[in-house]
Symmetry: C2
């Protein structure tokens, strides 16, 4: 984490894409996102049953997804409804596209 004399900043988009990728970098969070993106809403309670993890751990993963903005939570105890944040979701889609849309017309090597 230490910065050397070599001063440098990554671009905003690069930072955001890296952060989004980190959010997707755990199987549990992928499952959570898949569930939420396939329904119109979802309860965390269900998710604990679907995942091989303790409730506290699932809650933590949900918190990370909330922090990055990929999901919103509507608190209504004893239940909390979570949904995909469509705006952030679309932004994520766009950012991943900018990386993967290369079609390698030019590639000759390897």
């Amino acid at each position: 984490m230490k910065r050397t004399a070599k001063e440098f900043d990554y671009s905003k988009d690069t930072e955001e894409l890296a952060a989004l990728a980190k959010a997707l970098s755990h199987p549990a969070r992928i499952i959570i996102l898949k569930h939420l993106s396939q329904l119109d809403s979802c309860y965390t309670g269900d998710l604990v049953d679907v995942l091989p993890l303790a409730q506290a751990t699932v809650s933590q993963h949900i918190k990370e997804l909330k922090n990055i903005g990929l999901i919103d939570g509507e608190v209504n105890p004893p239940k909390v409804k979570y949904c995909i944040n469509q705006k952030k979701w679309n932004k994520a889609q766009k950012l991943f596209d900018t990386i993967f849309e290369q079609d390698f017309k030019k590639f000759k090597c390897c």
Copy 2:
């Protein structure tokens, strides 16, 4: 990492997507991939100049990308040519698509 009594396996695709996302979860690795995907080949030497990191650290990031299979290295000391592995790249593109292709026709909440 400990597994409780709650036995469970994530699907192959979920595991692979998570692993690919982890590979993209650092700005330096995104920059490396962007460089490689925009050229037909690239030398690590260039990359060290472009990144705010020591040579050892860049080499480590490259190793991670190699391990996951996103890039190939053609060893030819004192230079090593790296390229995108197109097969894995296309697989990655497909896997990310399966997550993000949702268009939220059904969404009403949030």
